[in-house]
């Protein structure tokens, strides 16, 4: 054990001396690994950034909420079977809630109707287009969690009475009221004035595709009064115990069939969706992006590894006589193997550290230039990069180190 430690420190000294005396060569060889590690690390930060953004976006939907909709949240081949389904009506919420209340030990809490479409919102000379206008009831807060940066949500009286009030998302508030409070101001939607009573705090974007802050929420009766045509309705149903989501789904299916009055032989003419379904649709896409990205960047690291392997072979060849001398002096196979493995590994590790440094600088640069771009530099990533560098060093050094350790001392000593 002790001897192993001495051999290790001896190998380390040789490796350092070797790198020092061949600075140009070592730098050029390490460059391959540096580039590889930079590429892999940046790809890693991008992937973990996407992952975080994805999870954040998914959280918007709530993991304890079921969505009753016309369409399932997954690609379907037989779209024509769904197209002719009856629309989901907001009125379903009432009978669903009645059934839930009448069912003992129901795993469902409450059904909340929502109806949405896109419209422009105006205030004075300013206008924001393509804003999601959503009509719902005051219980919406139970199924969708968000905070208010200003004001409040509409109450039950406003909700039932269909008052011309609304809460607006961060983007809408920012665009229409850049320098004043929107509370108690009237915005125009479809020519109708709505009094702003609350501003929802910033939610971010869904997968960076569209903003979740470009939204106006108002009482359902008011919505139906002015925007009844061509709106899409969903029923949101809150689940009591999210660990028994499948059970809740079955229960809700039964409830919906009763509401729709379906005979036992008839198929469901609605879809019950959940966050998980969307996730399982999007996960494969996300994963294939990750795999493809890591594969391509991994290739550049592989090229770097071949460079290291090549230079280690050259190093073994150049120092054949030195290997012979060391063997004559009592170096065992293991000692020689270790020496060259440490040489290639320390070169890779050095390249890895430099690459990591460069990647870190680039990451924070990207983070500053594009704050919305999801880059994440984590300790895990550092450890993984280090592990990858060491593995690359061992991988690329093994063949040359092995051939060095097997050299016949007589032939090695005689080598010119």
């Amino acid at each position: 054990m002790k001897r192993f430690a001495y051999e290790l420190s001896e190998s380390w000294k040789i490796a350092v001396a070797q790198m020092r005396s061949n600075k140009t060569r070592s730098t050029l060889t390490a460059l391959g690994v540096i580039i590889g590690i930079v590429a892999v690390t940046l790809m890693g930060t991008a992937i973990s950034g996407i992952q975080v953004g994805f999870d954040k976006s998914m959280a918007i939907f709530g993991d304890d909420v079921l969505y009753v909709s016309q369409w399932p949240w997954k690609p379907v081949d037989d779209w024509w079977n769904y197209r002719d389904r009856k629309k989901i009506k907001t009125e379903y919420a009432e009978p669903i809630n009645r059934i839930i209340a009448a069912t003992p030990n129901s795993n469902l809490v409450i059904a909340v109707p929502t109806s949405s479409l896109l419209r422009s919102v105006k205030y004075g000379q300013s206008e924001v287009s393509n804003v999601l206008i959503r009509g719902t009831v005051s219980d919406y807060l139970i199924t969708s969690t968000f905070d208010f940066s200003e004001g409040r949500f509409f109450n039950e009286i406003e909700s039932r009475g269909g008052a011309n009030v609304c809460v607006i998302g961060y983007d809408v508030a920012d665009a229409l009221f850049p320098s004043e409070s929107p509370i108690e101001k009237s915005v125009l939607i479809n020519g109708q004035p709505f009094r702003v009573i609350g501003v929802i705090s910033r939610q971010g974007t869904f997968l960076g595709l569209f903003s979740l802050d470009s939204i106006v929420v108002m009482p359902l009766p008011a919505f139906q009064k002015y925007f009844s045509a061509k709106s899409d309705s969903d029923i949101l149903v809150k689940v009591k115990d999210k660990t028994r989501l499948a059970e809740a789904k079955d229960e809700l299916t039964g409830v919906m069939r009763r509401v729709r009055g379906l005979a036992p032989e008839q198929k469901d003419d609605f879809s019950i969706n959940e966050q998980q379904a969307l996730k399982s649709t999007l996960d494969p896409i996300k994963n294939s992006i990750a795999i493809a990205g890591l594969f391509v960047t991994g290739l550049s690291l592989f090229v770097g590894a071949i460079g290291i392997m090549n230079i280690t072979f050259v190093s073994v060849k150049e120092r054949t006589r030195e290997i012979g001398t060391r063997k004559a002096l009592g170096a065992r196979r293991r000692t020689i193997l270790l020496q060259f493995l440490i040489e290639s590994t320390s070169l890779c590790l050095l390249g890895g550290l430099i690459g990591l440094g460069i990647a870190y600088v680039m990451c924070s640069g990207i983070g500053k230039a594009f704050p919305s771009f999801p880059v994440r530099f984590s300790l895990d990533l550092v450890l993984v990069s280090m592990a990858v560098s060491i593995f690359t060093g061992l991988f690329s050094g093994f063949a040359p180190a092995w051939s060095a350790s097997r050299l016949d001392p007589v032939a090695a000593l005689r080598y010119e």
């Binding site: 030195e322 001398t325 063997k327 004559a328 002096l329 065992r332 196979r333 007589v410």
Partner: protein
């Protein structure tokens, strides 16, 4: 070889009828065709022979760098002819000090680092290593060159570093392959005086050379030809331990 019986010194190397064949393409070269040799402690022996005589092959055998095709080789009573690479490495490390014609020092390491190398492989801690390396370097007259690298040393000084390296692990034999081959004659004589000195202090020295005037420093000469021992004046064996009877005594004192 019956003449050695009765000597007080123990046998270190005992070779019996060893052969070594090399296969080169379709041809088999018989480098050694059956060589028997016994070497006792504190002998000073020269192995001579023209190129192709098998002297290098014999030296590789004696140095445990290679194993014979057939025959028996006992080193200090241990059969080394069937040892594995790593076992041979251990024998070389502890029992044999090599001195090469081309010195074979590590170019980027100073004298101390070069000399301590066998001790690294022997698993000795760094403090002891440095102490012992410095001591042997002083013994070979390089006490003021401990931190010089090989390219800062003369040829003779380099060979002294190599000799110090051969001595540092206190081996049973010192095996020198043409130790003066790359040195001018004056420096060569200095190196030979150093060997003489070591011999007189009890070391066992085996010289491999083709130069007669180098070989004459030894007390016993083994001549090889075509893979066989042609002559062995092994009668000196066990007799010349007394320096008074040594015919070269006068020459040697001149170098001191």
């Amino acid at each position: 070889m019956s003449s050695v019986t009765g000597s007080a010194e123990p046998i270190i190397i005992d070779i019996e009828n060893i052969t070594k064949d090399y296969v080169m393409g379709e041809e088999t070269v018989h480098a050694l065709r059956g060589v028997s040799l016994q070497i006792r402690s504190n002998e000073y022996l020269a192995i001579m022979g023209p190129s192709g005589s098998g002297k290098s092959t014999l030296m590789n055998m004696l140095g445990c760098l290679d194993t014979p095709s057939s025959g028996r080789y006992e080193f200090n009573g241990r059969d080394v002819s069937a040892m594995s690479d790593d076992e041979l490495a251990a024998i070389r490390n502890r029992e044999i000090g090599f001195v090469f014609q081309t010195f074979n020092l590590l170019p980027r390491a100073d004298s101390l680092r070069n000399v301590e190398l066998p001790l690294v492989y022997a698993g000795i801690d760094s403090e002891t290593r440095w102490e012992r390396a410095a001591t042997v370097l002083r013994e070979v007259g390089l006490g003021d060159r401990l931190h010089h690298k090989p390219n800062e040393l003369s040829g003779g000084q380099r060979q002294r570093v190599a000799i110090a390296r051969a001595l540092v692990n206190d081996p049973s034999i010192i095996l020198a392959d043409e130790p003066t081959g790359n040195l001018d004659s004056k420096t060569g004589e200095e190196i030979m005086a150093l060997f003489e000195n070591l011999y007189r202090r009890g070391h066992t020295i085996i010289l491999v050379t083709h130069e007669a005037d180098i070989a004459q420093h030894a007390r016993r000469t083994v001549r090889l030809r075509d893979g066989l021992i042609e002559s062995d004046d092994g009668d000196f064996n066990g007799i010349d331990v007394s320096p008074i009877e040594d015919p070269l005594e006068a020459d040697v004192t001149a170098y001191k």
